[in-house]
Amino acid sequence: MTALLDLRGLTAHYGDFQALFGVDLTLEEGQTLAIIGANGAGKTTLMRAITGIARVSGGSATLAGTRIDRMAAPDILRAGIAMVPEGRRLFPSLSVEENLRIGAHSRQGNGFWTLARIYDLFPVLRERRLHPGTALSGGQQQMVAIGRALMSNPRVLLCDELSLGLAPVVIHEIYAAFPTIRDSGTAIVVVEQDISQALKVADHVHCMMEGRITLSGAPENLSRAAIHDAYFGVRHA
């Protein structure tokens, strides 16, 4: 059986600086994967490489058997990978509802996610649908960014640093939406600096350091000490 998303020896550069060194990673249908790592570990570059925003300089990436590593970003979205970018990046000229609708810009045909279903997932957005997207609180903006990505009915949803700059109660509220997203048939990759949050939602965890995956496994099989070592690159005392 081919994996839904399969990365083999992926390398990428950030300007002249090599940010990814041969990353291998597979994501199965229905799986939730977490990628943890400190600042500068290459997590965001990996997300940008998968979505075509950063150029892949070597290795391969396939989605359900189709090579995507040479595709342009809009084609990768059409192929079925949507991203919630770091910092949310809502469009300031667009209202909440327009931000959601633009997520479906290139969508063909029907799918599970509709405007109504996004509003059911995050009811507060329905009340605020006519506000400018950027006038909302950080947590609500994150909800718009997730909804916007879901509107394309992706097979894979990449979430880059969802919890960054948000209060714990807000983070909890956002992650509460994950079971519904998973049940819709979307596989999820979360990139997190918040290790405990990542371990809670994921059924498989990869830890990155200096552009490489240094530790992989199911959360229940990984000891805190091993994660600590892989995360900080030091031997645990």
Partner: protein, 287 residues
């Protein structure tokens, strides 16, 4: 009464300037591209209408309808083949390229049509006027003014009421994130320039119907258009209409005082607005 009449003539003229400026404003608003060839593209449009009209024996209004899709195609091609290649972080390359394009268009028109000045023959409507209360207004200026309002209104509807407009605004905000939505910024830019040249063709019809034009007429139109866009506030379409009206009224008032002051008065109004409101009358909130 003469002042009321002058004011009205100024507003009508301002409508024409707003038409010159609308395409420029659209392109700047979406891709931050200052198209120095915009005035020459309007003049090119006027020659196209003239050529189509005389070749097919059509009234300029009908010839202009035929010119609209041709100008859209030209804009699309221009953006795809040329301007998309030079758009980037640096604003200098597109400025140089459009400046060069301006020179190329002017010389091509000189070769094709000579330096003789031309006019679009719109017929008896040119001399017709309507009594509007105490003043009289020409039918052509009135149609020009109404067209300007209609064009700006139409562009606003397109911008704020359609999926394409949503993609325009998103691309203008953040072209990288727009790609994550499946939007191709370059094809969005090509459509935008196509629409800008459709507006330029409408402006060309009224430019050619109102006064003589020759291959060197473009740069002065560009200057008025520029001033209208900046007075209005960069990126605001209704602001561009207001900017056109300010220049038109200032020119009419200047001309009423002394015919030699017409052009100068428009430029002075531009400077005065910039002194009082450096970001224009209706600046965008988030620039």
């Amino acid at each position: 009464m003469i002042w009321l009449d002058t004011l009205l003539q100024g507003l009508m003229l301002g409508g024409l300037y707003a038409l010159f400026a609308a395409g420029l404003s659209l392109v700047f608003g979406i891709m931050r591209l200052v198209n120095l060839a915009h005035g020459d593209l309007i003049v090119l449009g006027a020659y196209l209408i003239l050529g189509l009209g005389s070749a097919l024996g059509l009234h300029p209004f009908l010839a202009a309808v035929l010119a609209l899709p041709l100008m859209f195609g030209l804009g699309w091609l221009l953006q795809t083949a040329l301007l998309n290649r030079v758009l980037g972080e640096d604003i200098l390359p597109p400025l140089l390229v459009t400046f060069g394009l301006s020179v190329v268009i002017q010389n091509a028109l000189l070769m094709g049509f000579s330096a003789d000045s031309r006019k679009l023959p719109v017929g008896p409507i040119e001399a017709q006027a309507l009594p509007l209360g105490p003043v009289t207004v020409g039918v052509m200026p009135l149609i020009t003014f109404a067209s300007a309002i209609l064009v700006i209104w139409g562009l606003n509807q397109l911008f704020y009421r359609t999926a394409l407009g949503r993609a325009f605004r998103a691309t203008s905000d953040d072209p990288v994130t727009a790609q994550l939505m499946g939007i191709r910024p370059r094809s969005i830019f090509a459509i935008a320039t196509g629409i800008a040249l459709v507006v330029a063709a409408i402006a060309a019809l009224y430019l050619g119907a109102r006064a003589n034009f020759d291959p060197a007429t473009g740069p002065a139109r560009l200057l008025y258009a520029f001033e209208a866009v900046i007075i209005g506030g960069l990126g605001s379409l209704w602001g561009t209409l207001a900017g056109g009206l300010v220049i038109g009224v200032a020119q009419a008032l200047g001309a009423a005082l002394n015919p030699e002051w017409q052009i100068l008065a428009g430029h002075l109004a531009f400077v005065a607005v910039l002194l009082l409101r450096p970001r224009g009358l209706f600046p965008r909130a988030h620039d």
